[in-house]
């Protein structure tokens, strides 16, 4: 699969995850979000940016419990919960937020 954006073509897998992670940029994120029916507010960017920072440091996506803990630390207790994440990304942080953030598709445990 693939999509066109600003004249450039981006390859994705069946689930819509970017194939080439380097191609990610904010426009791409906004485009994917839109496809997912998600409108990117500041709150959404907080999550996406955290995910990208974490990934660039540790080369892994954070476990959800760590994501929640860190969100709490950085943005306050009302943002540190699974419910809050699902509010922002109804299809879930793994499925949606990671996709928008341009991280490798979470695998394994299903």
């Amino acid at each position: 699969m693939s999509f066109e954006l600003n004249g450039k073509s981006y390859e994705t897998d069946d689930d819509g995850y970017l194939i080439n992670l380097e191609e990610w940029n904010e426009d791409v994120a906004r485009y994917i979000a839109q496809q997912e029916g998600v409108e990117m507010t500041d709150a959404h960017w907080e999550v996406v940016n955290f995910l990208r920072d974490y990934y660039s440091e540790y080369k892994i996506a954070p476990m959800i419990k760590i994501l929640i803990k860190e969100m709490k630390k950085m943005f306050g207790p009302e943002k540190g919960s699974n419910a809050y994440l699902y509010q922002l990304y109804p299809a879930g942080p793994a499925l949606q937020a990671c996709k928008i953030a341009g991280l490798p598709k979470p695998t394994g445990c299903v």
């Binding site: 970017l18 540790y58 080369k59 892994i60 509010q87 490798p104 394994g108």
Partner: protein, 357 residues
């Protein structure tokens, strides 16, 4: 922000509405049960009895099959049926007289009744080539050919005790392979082949490295990209790396195949639960009817049937006669592969002179 107005988190319906009235009345007050014939139980309660007819099912079933079952349930069982933890269908009859006609109609539709007590019940199994990316063999096909061979042991109760078979299509063992009387396990025999072109994009390197039970995976750099390499001498093809990293497939038609395991058990009856132990390290994948596998399994069943004592599960029987005799009686070859070399290997070494010659 997306708003969700749908019903969520309602959970499953209350079981209450699926219970036969006789069950409801006698809920928690059953006195005893009895086996009326192969596949047919009666449970005697304070105010009445419920009759169970247990029918086989391939588990991978279509809505056609299910409608056949619900139809029969409506006709004979007041519309009440259930499935067992081993995927059999159970009809719950209030009326004893419906037993025979129900069995007749099941039989007309090719569905046997049995699997109770000292018989072989349905095979717990997994997805195989029908649905899973991990499969080293097919599960549904193996079940079919094995149960064709062992059919008599399902419909009759002529074994020393219950005998439970499981099939899993890879080492994840989505089922009961590690604790079954006899287990059939699909496996790979060659290390993952790494696709270095996609790996850096598809996989988290630290997760991939951590996934290996034998520390065979190390990060490495190829053409400036971080990827991984596998120390093939340390790899025993478990496939855990593939689970977390799609760029490391193990499937290998030439070398994938099947192994046979024996002597596991779950219940706490008599002995503590026991793991299944290796009987045959490798048999070829030989679809559609895997003759080597069916023969091997049938052989073990028959040797067990002939030699075990009543109420002795396969593992208990082997513990009584000892492994040397098990290999003798079944004619299975003992090889170096039977010697454990994993984490707790030392606990399987014989630390005494007690032995049979």
């Amino acid at each position: 922000m997306a708003t969700i107005e749908r019903r969520t988190d309602i959970g499953p319906p209350h079981y209450d509405k699926f219970l036969h009235p006789i069950i409801k009345e006698n809920y928690g007050k059953w006195k005893y049960h009895d086996t009326l014939r192969a596949g047919v139980l009666v449970h005697v309660g304070e105010t009445g009895s419920i009759y169970t007819v247990r029918a086989a099912s391939p588990r991978l079933i279509s809505t056609n099959f299910i409608r056949l079952m619900t139809g029969l349930a409506t006709k004979y069982a007041d519309g009440y049926l259930r499935f067992t933890s081993r995927n059999n269908v159970e009809f719950l009859l209030g009326n004893k007289d419906n037993i025979d006609p129900l069995i007749k109609e099941l039989s007309d539709n090719g569905v046997p009744v049995g699997g109770l007590n000292n018989s072989i019940s349905n095979v717990v199994h997994t997805q195989g080539w029908v649905h899973c990316h991990s499969a080293a063999t097919d599960a549904s096909g193996l079940v079919k050919v094995v149960m064709d061979e062992l059919y008599e042991y399902f419909v009759e109760m002529k074994l020393p005790h219950k005998l439970r078979i499981a099939v899993a299509c890879c080492l994840n063992m989505c089922g009961a392979v590690h604790a079954s009387d006899i287990a059939i396990l699909g496996l790979h025999r060659t290390p993952p082949r790494i696709d270095h072109s996609t790996l850096p994009n598809l996989c988290e390197i630290p997760t991939t490295v951590a996934s290996c039970p034998n520390n065979a995976i190390r990060p490495t750099s190829i053409e400036g990209k971080t990827t991984v390499k596998v120390d093939e001498d340390k790899c025993m093809y478990c496939g855990n790396c593939f689970t977390v990293c799609p760029a490391m497939p193990l499937a290998d038609p030439l070398n994938d195949g099947v192994s046979i395991w024996v002597g596991g058990k779950i219940s706490n009856a008599r002995t503590e639960p026991m793991f299944t132990k290796l009987a045959i390290p490798f048999l070829p994948n030989n679809p559609p009817r895997w003759p080597e596998v069916t023969e091997a399994v049938k052989n073990i069943v028959e040797v067990y049937a002939k030699n075990a004592k009543p109420y002795e599960r396969v593992g208990e029987w082997i513990n009584r006669i000892g492994w040397p005799k098990f290999f003798d009686l079944t004619g299975i070859e003992f090889t170096k592969y039977h010697l454990d070399d994993f984490r707790y290997a030392g606990t399987t070494y014989r630390r005494s002179t007690q032995n049979r010659y």
